[in-house]
């Protein structure tokens, strides 16, 4: 067992985890943060995407001990004080969600993209989200929602 300190969605957590526990299982089974989904446990579907120090990773392929001393952001950390982020608002507004199982990973991947590239092109969005599979929506509204959120952020920035 290893003792680790991880900042999860802005709050420090002191945990004891077995060496082979994945970050996905730590989030879901130790912290009961079940927003991060388990779709394949092989790094192929993207449903378990979280941010590790701001970078998107498949939490099913990341060991919990690798997160020691680092910051993890999950879908539960995207809204602030109960206010949806512009990205979440855009997903709602455009009906970019159906069953919702891929949505947490989609949101986290898109969040990371917008953080490093506030005005991504359609091609850049597709490249950034290639690892996030969805079987319901046909993806077009997800691309649209990321573009909408980017525009909203640019407008807000322009007004400030």
């Amino acid at each position: 067992m290893h003792s680790i300190t991880v900042t999860v969605n802005g709050r420090p957590e002191y945990l004891t985890v077995p060496p082979n526990m994945t970050l996905l299982r730590m989030l879901r089974e130790v912290l009961a943060l079940t927003g991060t989904k388990n779709g394949c446990e092989a790094g192929e579907c993207g449903a378990c995407t979280v941010l590790l120090d701001g970078e998107p990773v498949n939490s099913c392929l990341t060991l919990a001990v690798e997160a020691d001393g680092r910051e993890v952001t999950t879908v539960e950390g995207l809204a602030e004080d109960g206010q949806l982020s512009a990205l979440q608002e855009a997903f709602v507004e455009l009906n970019a969600v159906q069953c919702g199982f891929c949505t947490p990973g989609m949101l986290v991947s898109a969040h990371a993209l917008l953080a490093r590239n506030p005005r991504p092109t359609e091609q850049e969005i597709k490249e950034a989200m290639l690892g996030n599979l969805c079987r319901c929506t046909g993806y077009l509204r997800i691309v649209g929602a990321v573009q909408t959120a980017a525009s909203a952020a640019a407008d807000a920035g322009g007004a400030a």
Binding site: C40, E44, V97, C99, G100, P104, R135, C136
Partner: protein, 776 residues
Amino acid sequence: MTTFTSDPVGKSVPRVDMRDKVTGAAVFADDMQFGPGLHYGRLVRSPHAHAIIKKVDASQALEVPGVKAVVTGKDTPTRIGLYLKDRFIFALDRARLVGDPVAGVIATSEEMAEEAARLVEVEYEELPAVFDPVEAAQPGAPLIHPELGEYEVVNFIFPEPGTNISEHFKLRRGDVESAWPRCAAIMEGTFRLPQIEHVPIEPHVAVALWEQSGQVTLWTCSQSPFAQRDLIAQSLGIPHGNLRVISPYVGGGFGGKAGVSMEACAVAMARAVQGRPVKLRMTREEEFICTTTRQSLVAHTRIGCDAECNLLAMETQYYFGGGASNEYGVNIARAAGYSCTGPYLIPNVKGDSYCVYTNTPIGSAMRGFGMPEIHWGIEQIMDQLAEKIGMNPAEFRRRNCVKSGATILTGMEMPAVDLVACIDKVIGAIEWDKRPSASAPHKKRGKGMAIMWKAPAMPPNPGSSAIVRFNEDATVNVEIGAQELGQGAFTVVAQIAAQALGVPYEWVRVSAPVDTKYSPYEWQTVASRITWSTGNAVKAAAEHARGQILEVVAEHWEEDLADLDIKDGMVISYHSEREQPLQNMVVYGLPNEGFEGWKGGPIVGTGKFMPTYVTNLDFETGQGARAVVHYTVGAQAVDLQVDTDTGQVEVLKIASAYDVGKAINPDLILTQIEGGAVHGLSSAFEALQFDEKGRPLNANFVDYRIATIADVPREIHGDIVETPLEDGPWGARGVGEHVMVQTAPAIANAIYDALGIRFTDLPLSAEKIFLALQEQ
């Protein structure tokens, strides 16, 4: 700001489940918490496609610390099944596919369960296996279910004991033999579709608890909580009232979570460790192979028309590869039989549709339920006939497609639909007559179209029911047994309830999770039937509640009931212009003058819907008064280009139009149209692959590719046609499955337009197209 939507039917109101789904709060089956007492299950699966199980020895497995029990086929000796009880929960004497569950290990951790599962020793005697449905249907093929004649079966399914044929549906209309000589053009072909998987992003999960009192609870991601209760209760001998199925949000179903698959294993395993919940979770590999798949199909089809392009005759044999169990799949072959012409009026038809056992994964319900399979061939032949006669394929389809009131192949009168309008919409949207060039010299561009029909394929009498209750503040709880799979069912029933009650949409809550102990009965969330069937039940329940409210107020005001109405949550009188808010009165009633007594009380509306008019069909001819409840029809057209250097297909645009009767929520229909078009596109390139022993070769996301964000067209255009359905709520009928039915043949027709090459077998792999180009 509080939003307030009056009369929501027909409006694109926001989904009720959105906020939960974008914040991670939405609970799926795997997210439910059961505490430290939770046990874990792992299944021991057959490595052979067909084998006698001679011995199962669990003694070594039981010695692993933390292992609590091992369950085998001896513990589940009663067969289970929806239409044909042909499957053991755990294989008893015979394994029929690679992956058949032979035993289940229960332990205190997943790791221990997995380790112990490897220690269960099973002695097999391999049997000859058969994988192709046509081969399997021949006399002398290895028999997969020798006891077929003993199986319990519903009275509209006709197995042929002594063969591998679990259902043979015969359609005989007119006289094909005398019609062929009158045909100016006849086209025929053999068309093949492989087994494909639903690939929901959420794998199957089930947790079961068998209490010592005999109460049993199953938590699972399910399209069919009530059907699961019924089938598992029958097979395991549980009184229905003692088995409670609870199903939270479903992370994609597409038919794969309909009926019973691994859930019954979880319940049987829980019986062995009473008082402890047992969790069984499919790995992605198990999800691909060991839950259910779409059946394979081999179709031999021949269609002819006269010189004026009137369709005259069709002869077809459909061989569905149903896999190791056909308990649900028999009805796919039946549906393909009674709809075997596709959406066309053909006076002379001879159709034979077979469901055939094969030693492959279990074929079952999948979005389209036989229709994507049969339209694959039909829609290519229609293009070939149009070409041969020298007619535009759109015009060919306009002339020959089903029309309202016409007598269709089963002798039933076609309910009102406007397929011609759908054709016109997609032809317009795709700019059918324009011939744009490809984006590069090594690419070739083409356009293609296809049309479709599909009826809800069900027993004749699947029921829905609903309860509408008021809270003190006049918000409303709607209880249904139908499930939210992502299609938007909860939103649509909230709209229907609000509209029928006369309250704002935002006042309505849909009770979740579905819980068979508290939710009213629903057959299954399948067949694109929820908007129509559950919608009717919810409308009836809301009207029942509304009637109770108006009676109380009419008596209170001493007014005529006919003068009263409910608008925006207020009872109003058109006569006296008085107003009475619903708040409080819907629970406490209204006081008499001077508080000399009270009227009314808590308002609870109940409603049900069940089609009562569907008839069985004649065994020899498939003829009958009313084969199905209704059909939904639609058209699609695609614009694509093919890279002649690589064989890769790039779909540029898909245009779809469907006649939904009435769009309760137009934007939700467009989301189905878009997602369905991509599902259909993806399905044209998918195939489960097996080696010569029936072992899976590509049961993972890398080797079995589904459409990614990079594969989708730049534009998916959707149009909605509204020809009201006689018995739909505000005329609505379902559209959730139809949106992918004809995508693959539309693509094949466009590839032919681009290359002049016909592909009769799916998948449309780049390799296959490249090799065909080389040959050309």
